[in-house]
C-alpha cells in the first residue's frame, strides 16, 4: 500500500518535472487570444445609414453614431467609450448593413479617462 502510494507520488512528480509551465510571463510572452475573441470594435462608415440600431440595442450605452454631414452627403462619426463597453458585440449583430465588426485588439488600458472615449 505504502509502496504503491510512493510510486504514484514519484510518477506525478516526474510527470510535472517535464511539463511546460501552465502560466506565462506577462513581461516576455504575449497573451494568446483565441480566434473568435471579441475585442475592440471596427467601424466602416461607407454603408452606414445612421439607423441607430446599434445605439438602441447597446446594453452599456457605450456607442454613439452621429451624422456630421448633410442628409445627401453623409459623414458618419462613431464614438466608442471602451470604459463602458462590455464587449458583447450586440451592435455587430444588430447592424443591418454590417458596418460594425470586432477585432482582436484587447490592449485598451489607459491612464487617462478621456482617452477611453475613442473615435472608431
Amino acid at each position: 500500500m505504502i509502496k504503491q502510494r510512493i510510486g504514484k507520488i514519484i510518477n506525478e512528480a516526474v510527470k510535472n518535472f517535464f511539463r511546460k509551465p501552465a502560466t506565462i510571463s506577462l513581461a516576455k510572452d504575449k497573451i494568446q487570444i483565441v480566434k473568435n475573441y471579441r475585442g475592440k470594435l471596427v467601424y466602416d462608415p461607407a454603408n452606414c445609414t445612421g439607423c441607430g440600431m446599434c445605439v438602441r440595442n447597446c446594453p452599456a450605452a457605450a456607442i454613439t453614431i452621429v451624422n456630421e454631414g448633410t442628409k445627401e452627403e453623409r459623414k458618419m462619426k462613431a464614438t466608442l467609450n471602451v470604459g463602458h463597453c462590455i464587449f458583447c458585440c450586440q451592435c455587430v449583430d444588430s447592424c443591418p448593413k454590417k458596418c460594425l465588426s470586432y477585432s482582436q485588439n484587447i490592449d485598451l488600458a489607459s491612464f487617462n479617462k478621456e482617452e477611453l472615449k475613442m473615435q472608431l
Binding site: 501552465a22 483565441v34 480566434k35 473568435n36 475573441y37 471579441r38 438602441r56 440595442n57 447597446c58 446594453p59 452599456a60 450605452a61 462590455i86 464587449f87 458583447c88 458585440c89 450586440q90 449583430d93 444588430s94
Partner: protein
C-alpha cells in the same frame, strides 16, 4: 401515612437538588459561551456576508446568518431596459453560472413569444451549459481544497479549469459572460475545429477528474476533514428545501435536466448522480461525478449535433403574459419569472438563484460543528452571495412611500445629517442613462 409523606419529601428534595444542579450546569455553560462574528469581511469568505457564531468551547451552538451586503438591484434595472439589453444584464447576475441565467431568461421569453428554437441552437446551449458546469465545479473543488489547507489540489484544479475556459472562449468569444444566447437561438455557430478542441479537452480532463476522484476516495487526510462535516440528512434537506449537489448528496434526485428537460436535454441521456453521505464528502463526490457525467453529455452532443440554422428571428415587442422558466445551474435549480406587458421592456423580472435555497439549511449544518470546520461547511454549498441578494426590505416607520430620484437623494442626505455627516456638498455627476 407518615412513611408516605417522608418518601414524598425525599423525592421532592431530590428533584430540587437535581433541578439546582442542571440549572447550575446550564448557567456555567451559558457563561462559557462566546459569540464571535465572522464577516462581513473575512479571509475565509469570498464575498461579504456575516455569520454571528455562538461557541461553547470549540463547538458551534448557534449561528445567525446575514446575507444582503451585495444587493445590486438587477431586477429593478431589468424593468428599464429592452429585452435584448436585458440579456447581457441577466448574464451578470452571476459571474460563474452566467449561461444558465441567460438560458432561463431566453427560454421564458421564447415561451411568451411562441418561438421554437432550432435544434442546433438547443444543442449549442447544452454544450455551453455543460462546459460552464465543468468550470464551475472545478473552481469549487479548488476553493474547497483551499479552505481545508490542501493548496496543491487548488492549483491543480484551477490549472485544469483554464483548459475549459479556453474552449469556452473559442466557442463563445469570451472566458466569462459568454454572450452566446439570444432570443430565438444562439449567436454563434460551432465549427468542426471547435468540436475537435472540445473533444481534446474532454479527453484530457477525464484523466484528471478520475485522478481527483481516486484521490478523494482514498486519501485519509481528505476523508478526515470532510466525512461527517456539515451533515444535512435527507429529511432535513427536504424540510429546508435545498437544491443541487447539496440535495443530491443527501440522496434526493432533483436534477431539472432529468425531471423537466429543457433545451436539448430531452434527446441527450443524462445519468442522475446521487450520494448517501449527506455531508461535505458526499457533496465533493457528487460534484466530481457530475463533471464526469458532463463530459459524457458534451461528447454525445458534439457527435450528435444536427445541422441547420442557429437562430430564428424574434419580435422586438413580446406579447403580454407571465412565465416561469427553470434551468439546472451548477449549484442547483434556477428559477426565472418574467411578466410582459406587450412592450419591448419587461414589466417584472424575478430571479431565484440556487444559492438562495441552499442558505436555508446553513444554520442547521453549522450547529454542532467545530469552529475550524465552519469555512469548509460554508464553502460546501458553493455559495454565490451576490446571486442571492435579490430583494431588500426597508423598515420604515411611516409605511410605504414612493420616492423619485431627487427625493431619494434628499432622504439619504438627511439620514446622514442626523448622524453628523454632511454629504450635501458632494456634487453628483449628471445621470445620462436610464434616468
Amino acid at each position: 401515612m407518615e412513611k408516605v409523606d417522608e418518601n414524598k419529601e425525599r423525592a421532592e428534595n431530590k428533584e430540587n437538588e437535581e433541578n439546582k444542579e442542571s440549572k447550575q450546569n446550564r448557567e456555567t455553560s451559558e457563561r462559557n459561551r462566546i459569540v464571535i462574528p465572522i464577516g462581513p469581511q473575512h479571509p475565509s469568505l469570498k464575498e461579504p456576508s456575516s455569520f454571528i457564531i455562538t461557541l461553547e468551547g470549540e463547538k458551534v451552538v448557534d449561528a445567525v446568518i446575514g446575507v444582503g451586503y451585495v444587493h445590486r438591484g438587477i431586477e429593478k434595472a431589468c424593468e428599464s431596459r429592452t429585452y435584448i439589453q436585458n440579456l447581457y444584464l441577466i448574464e451578470r447576475v452571476c459571474g460563474i453560472c452566467s449561461h444558465t441565467h441567460s438560458t432561463a431568461f431566453c427560454q421564458g421569453i421564447e415561451e411568451l413569444a411562441g418561438i421554437t428554437i432550432p435544434r442546433r441552437a438547443a444543442y449549442i446551449r447544452v454544450i455551453v451549459a455543460e462546459l460552464e458546469r465543468l468550470h464551475s465545479h472545478l473552481l469549487w473543488l479548488g476553493v474547497a481544497a483551499h479552505e481545508i489547507g490542501f493548496d496543491t489540489l487548488f492549483m491543480y484544479s484551477w490549472r485544469d479549469r483554464e483548459k475549459v475556459l479556453d474552449v469556452l472562449a473559442e466557442i463563445c468569444g469570451n472566458r466569462v459572460n459568454y454572450g452566446i444566447n439570444t432570443i430565438g437561438g444562439v449567436r454563434r455557430d460551432i465549427d468542426s475545429e471547435m468540436m475537435q478542441d472540445t473533444l481534446k479537452m474532454a479527453d484530457y480532463l477525464e484523466g484528471q477528474l478520475k485522478y481527483y476522484l481516486d484521490l478523494v476516495m482514498t486519501d485519509k487526510v481528505l476523508s478526515a476533514r470532510l466525512v461527517g462535516i456539515g451533515k444535512l440528512s435527507r429529511e432535513d434537506a427536504l424540510k429546508f428545501g435545498v437544491v443541487g449537489p447539496v440535495a443530491r448528496a443527501a440522496g434526493i434526485m432533483d436534477d431539472i435536466r432529468i425531471i423537466e428537460p429543457y433545451a436539448a436535454y430531452d434527446e441527450i441521456p443524462v445519468n442522475p448522480v446521487t450520494d448517501t453521505h449527506a455531508d461535505v464528502f458526499g457533496r465533493t463526490v457528487v460534484r466530481i461525478k457530475e463533471m464526469l457525467e458532463s463530459l459524457e453529455i458534451i461528447r454525445y452532443s458534439v457527435k450528435n449535433i444536427p445541422d441547420g440554422d442557429i437562430a430564428v428571428k424574434a419580435p422586438r415587442r413580446i406579447p403580454a403574459g407571465e412565465v416561469i422558466s427553470r434551468t439546472e445551474a451548477p449549484r442547483g435549480e434556477n428559477i426565472h419569472y418574467i411578466r410582459s406587458n406587450g412592450t419591448d421592456m419587461p414589466d417584472r423580472v424575478r430571479i431565484r438563484a440556487p444559492s438562495q435555497a441552499n442558505w436555508q439549511g446553513m444554520r442547521h449544518m453549522l450547529q454542532g460543528q467545530y469552529l475550524a470546520d465552519i469555512p469548509i461547511t460554508i464553502a460546501a454549498i458553493d455559495p454565490c452571495y451576490s446571486c442571492t441578494d435579490r430583494a431588500i426590505v426597508v423598515n420604515s416607520e411611516s409605511g410605504t412611500e414612493i420616492m423619485d430620484w431627487q427625493g431619494l437623494r434628499q432622504y439619504s442626505i438627511e439620514w446622514y445629517k442626523k448622524r453628523g455627516i454632511d454629504v450635501s456638498l458632494v456634487k453628483m455627476p449628471e445621470r445620462k442613462f436610464y434616468a
